[in-house]
Structures are given as structure tokens and as C-alpha cells.
Subunit: 206 residues, 2 copies
Amino acid sequence: MPRSKGDHEARRHDVSAAVWQVMATRGFAGLTLRAVAAELGATTGLLTHYFPTKQALVAYALDLLEERTLSRPRRQSGGGLAALRDAILDILPLTSEARDSNRIWVSSWDNALADPALSADYARKYAEGRDRMLQRVIAAQEAGELPPGEPTDLAAGAQAFALGLVVQALFDPAAFPPGRQTELLDNYLAGLAAGPCPISSPDPHA
Amino acid sequence: MPRSKGDHEARRHDVSAAVWQVMATRGFAGLTLRAVAAELGATTGLLTHYFPTKQALVAYALDLLEERTLSRPRRQSGGGLAALRDAILDILPLTSEARDSNRIWVSSWDNALADPALSADYARKYAEGRDRMLQRVIAAQEAGELPPGEPTDLAAGAQAFALGLVVQALFDPAAFPPGRQTELLDNYLAGLAAGPCPISSPDPHA
């Protein structure tokens, strides 16, 4: 009996889930056909049908990472500064799903930095991320929620803050539980909102 | 003729240099006996004398990374806020040496996150790094260079900023040359120094 399209889709879904699980626990360094087969309860032989080479498996994993990142739900609690806060909350490992995807992103940096084409692709992705933050910084400045100042600096700083907090939280989840991450973010944003204080000059009418 | 201690030390130095160069260009994912042998112009057989297993090579590479990180020269341009700035400048990839060591650190995160013991060791290292920043934040607050406020938040935020800027600069050195990294750091520190502005209350004597 020929396999139906539904069977094929179901199997593909299972393979994706197994690849994801292996990456979330072992990283790209631990991503092997053998590990995926064990996770799937299948033979390595079956998997070579999907992934004839290690490179094919890694390419599939990178596509899966991008697909899941793009399709994840996004917070939308407002415009301006609230939207900037949402963008950073969407990055941070505040849930187990977000922890897994961040752990896989961080894990992928080793491969990406060793491959000039992939590295350029990552640089483009991060530049796009900064640009999304930039739009929100500008909106927050226009709304008077952030002080004037070079918005590209604020956007690059916000992305640095988010990425660095991700790394710290992945290595030390006990020191950076979700509430602590959010608190640090809110303190960071409060600092941006305060900005350089107006210089208090002596009252000329005194 | 038996080999002298000097020969042994010279060979060890060459092996370290080759391991470092492989990690700087290919990362931990590309760290193999074969790659180190090629870099050294030696046989894989010779290297198995130093590294009987892949694990031994990785352990050696991690030790080398820590040793070079601990022994690197540190900036000492002052106390308080200047010392906090120095600590962050010491982290950023502002020179080719610092770029290589950062690229190797970032590359090592994949392995470290997959290994609970290594992960705990990294968490401890980053906690020590935050503690060093904390001491400098407190000194800057005491000197009146930073506003009062929870110093542990400022220290964790500063480490996040530094780590995230490292990642961005590694992927996009054209967008983050040394001068731009320093500029972003100085803007970040200026924001911290400004802090929450004093609330201007109506003059009760008006």
C-alpha cells in the first residue's frame, strides 16, 4: 500500500521534533544521525533517506530554527517603548520553548562563525533585528518616552543587552529566572527613558 | 640522543599555538587532530601522543582558553567608573587577539551548554565576572560617578551589554569596528551615569 501524503507529513513532523529535541539538549555539536534516530526510536538507515549527509542534517536544523523563530507568537502590548520592551521579551528565555530556541541559536553560533556565507547570513539577521528595534526606538522618541539621541546607538545597545542576557540566563538559570530577567530589562529601559538629565541652570530671575 | 626539556617546551608551545589557531578559524566544531596536525605541519600520529582522544584535545583547548584569558594584559586607567569601563573594554573584541579569544569563547558555549559540569563552571566564571563589575559599580557609586540604585542590577546589565556586543561584533565586524564598539560603550556608560533624573518639584517658596 503506497504511503499517503498524511503519513509523509506526520513522519516529517516527527523527524522535525526529534531534530529539535536533540539540538535543545546536545546542541549542534551533538547533532548526529545516530542521536536523532535514537530520539525518534528509528533506525539510522531510515534517517539517511531524509538526510544523506551530516551537512544535510545541519542545513535542515538551521532551517527549522529559522522557521520556528519566525513563526513564534509575538507580544503586542502597545507602541513605542512598550513595543521595544515586547521585542526584547520576545528574545529572552522566559519560557521553556524560548529557552530551547535560544539554546539552539547560541549553539549554532560556532558553526555560523566558521562558515563565511552563514556568518554573513547571521550578520544580516541581526542587522534586521536591530532595524526592528530602531523603528521602535524612534517611535518611543517621537512619543516622548525616550529622550532624543542617536536612535541607532540605542537600538544596537538594546540588542547587545538582550543577547548578553540570553547567554547569562542560559548558563545560570537559577540566577536569572524569568522574573529576574524581566526586572533587569525594566531597569535597563528605565535607564534609557531617564537619559541624560536636563542641566539645571541657575534661575535667571532669582 | 634524548630530547631536552627545552625541546619539549618548544614543541608544547607549537602545539598550543596550532590548537589556538584552529579554534580561532574553525571553532570547537572544527577542532580535530587532523586539523591541528595540518596547522602544525606534523602527523596525526605525533599528536595522538599529546591527545590520545578527542576529549583530551577539547579539554586541553578549554584549559588553554582559560589560561590565555587569565594572563591577558588588563587596562588600568583609574578607579570607579573608569575601572568599570576598563573591565568592559578588556572583554570586547577590539584587537585581533581579543577577536580570536572571543570567537573561541563563543564557540565553546555549544559544548559547555551540553555538559552540566562545564556549564556550572561557566556559570561560576560569569558570576565571578559580574562580581568584579559589581565592585567597580559600588566604587563608582561611592565616588558619585553613578547614581544610587541596586548595584547588582547595574553589574548584571553591564555584563549583558558586554557579552551581547561581543556577539554582534564577531558576526558583523564591518558594522562594529573597534571605534564603534567603544562609542556604544561610552554611550551606555553615559546613560548609566545619568540615571533616573531627579524629579523637579515646584519650588515651595515661589
